[in-house]
Subunit: 452 residues, 2 copies
Amino acid sequence: MATLQLASWAVRLTYPDLTSSVVEAAVNSIYNWAGCAIGGYAQDAPRIAQATIQPFFGGPPTSSILGANGSVSEAYADAQLAAFLNGIASHVDDYDDTHLETIIHPAGPVASALLSVAEWQSPVAGHDFITAFVAGVEAECKLGLSVTPEHYNVGWHITSTVGSIGASVAVGKLIGLDTTQMQNAIGLAATQVVGMQEFFGSMTKSFHIGRAASGGMLGALLAKNNYTSSLQSLEATYGWLHVVSTRENATAYFDQLGEIWEIEKNTFKPFPCGIVLHPTIDAAMQLHKEAIQQDKDISSVKSINLQVNSQVLILTGKTNPTTGLEGKFSVNHAAAVGLLYGEATPTYFTDEAVTNATVVEFRKKVNVTVNDERFAKDQAMVTIEFSDGSTLEKHIEHAIGSLENPLTDADLKKKFLDQVSRRIGEVRAERAHTAFKGIGDMADVGQLRLLY
Amino acid sequence: MATLQLASWAVRLTYPDLTSSVVEAAVNSIYNWAGCAIGGYAQDAPRIAQATIQPFFGGPPTSSILGANGSVSEAYADAQLAAFLNGIASHVDDYDDTHLETIIHPAGPVASALLSVAEWQSPVAGHDFITAFVAGVEAECKLGLSVTPEHYNVGWHITSTVGSIGASVAVGKLIGLDTTQMQNAIGLAATQVVGMQEFFGSMTKSFHIGRAASGGMLGALLAKNNYTSSLQSLEATYGWLHVVSTRENATAYFDQLGEIWEIEKNTFKPFPCGIVLHPTIDAAMQLHKEAIQQDKDISSVKSINLQVNSQVLILTGKTNPTTGLEGKFSVNHAAAVGLLYGEATPTYFTDEAVTNATVVEFRKKVNVTVNDERFAKDQAMVTIEFSDGSTLEKHIEHAIGSLENPLTDADLKKKFLDQVSRRIGEVRAERAHTAFKGIGDMADVGQLRLLY
């Protein structure tokens, strides 16, 4: 209600509502601000900021908008805009990757920033690109671990809150920041805390990743130009760790940098939706297959009972989604499409799929029971009862896509080709696959876009 | 240490440090991300974001960089960049304005966004501009009140954390968002929580205001293009109020919208530094004058004893500043220049002034005692002892610039002319004063820059 209240008030406000004293106070506030802005421009901060941003202003479109086709003006942008857009696009399907211990989706903020900068700063060797990418991912995941689960539990969208820091470390590494500059870059990224869970199921969820990518990148570029920040932004009393979490243990995790690699724990999503839905979908798809094998009619299912971890309802409890994006956070929808179709590709998380009458009816049959003692986040039990009273049941120990049950190389390639060919056709999708798989050995990552 | 540790690790990391398994995991992460980005581009979110940002990309420089002189390419930028730079410049001197109950500096984020948009969207009537400005300021201050003091006490820089929301409301108002769009704009702004107190004394403090201005503006523009967010972003369990504060009381303050005007409580800084230093400076300057009247030699002062509110040491406890920006958060420096020079204009908060040998020596004489029972944030007692054992003492009940002891119209004009004439000369500064004072009655605020 508060938002509506504020929004309504602002929308309704008109000039005649303002007393002359209000107007006078407003004018004084504005002209005092203008004096400050004109006078303050003499300082270093706005000058460095301007010099840092200037390359993007009316400058050449150096960097790919990955999914855009067409001419340079349609498919390329400046590095900052490209990072922002690629960050959104790479996360909007909720199909990306997951560091399961933290529920961070690591590549989005880091790679979105890094590839844009690499194309802009071409030539950039593949080895340097990979090194920078790993630095960024380790940074964000170690930080994430150090504030898990308190930081996430309070409502932050951890992928973007740590993602801006990962992006700044990656870009900072690529552009050769020294240690002090890197500290400043981390500070500039850390002070931009973007992302809360309230926005799951809306476009703003993926905005978080775009903003983290471009914000972290901006931090690294400002630091390179000696924009000052703090050298202890993470651990300071009023710095990142203490402000955004009631718990932190950063040095313990940083001690493991280079010894335990978080990137090795990265997993890839088989289904384009909230990761906690995956065990339910896995079970539902297997039950679909069993029902066919047993000549049972799925449409005669009268009840669907799920036993899951409590995070499933907290994060994906939208019982009656109305858009594709909301469907990605609806355990009812996920179970329904898994059972009805035996698949859960992006096709089943569109506005059309979510409002399909059959699906809507089927969703109503879903009942959810929470049982944290028996079910971890990658586990679930699904029981379906048919109209004849018979039942089928499936227990998922580790969902497909989890560390214990990962996608195969072939699965991952199939996923890539499915996604990419829908945008640029099968032939170019195959070429893109070869190009991105070979990124680590390229003489110049800036040439990658030319390979497909 | 944690920051340095992380930064050092990242700086030192080289490709040979990576195992082949790390590289493989990295490549898989990158190409999985690329598939997501290419495929995800088909969604609405990246398209709307691109369409929203497109006007700024290589588009005409529509909006003033307020303090910049010279040709259009030097003194104008796109609206987003102009908002960002004006936000930084207007706050970097810490000379702006203060809503004392919350310590919000209200105009910076709101006016920086709003003027840039008004110039871009010209013609914009002065009345509409003022209305939008007031809407933004009321929004940010009411929100700030609802989370005060818990939100600030944990370390957030409240000016920017609420400022992005204020900017989105102001810009949203100006561009005519409907209520649902305004709710979405608030959501997009709310999820960008920029600014922590650790960065006080560095350039990143003013970056917060630039980022809040451009981020809030971006939120409003995205909402206009129907980028979806949340309709209850403030009050939701995992929304702004609960995530960034242990206390909130938003509806109680929103109930007062249009009845109690926060803009009327806005005060203007007489000194370009942290607001909690102002009573100390006020006292020091008065003691400087008294010493002269009594023919006492200030240089013979052997000790300077301050009794102040505890926030003074928390926020401005830098005993040995080394830059002008750090000097703005040093109670030792503030007391020293007030006593030595009887003034505390921007000249006394430069790198040169802060490292001046006389000032450095004088700062060492300062002792600070905290006494919250006797001294509110706008109060202080300064006692100086001369080498002959004589003392002078000054108690400040309400510092100059406070609501109870505000700057006069003449003071405010003098401050503006001092700031602005340093950048654009006295004649144009007078014209700029007339122009900004008359902003509310202009037929087109977009023409304001042409008036000076």
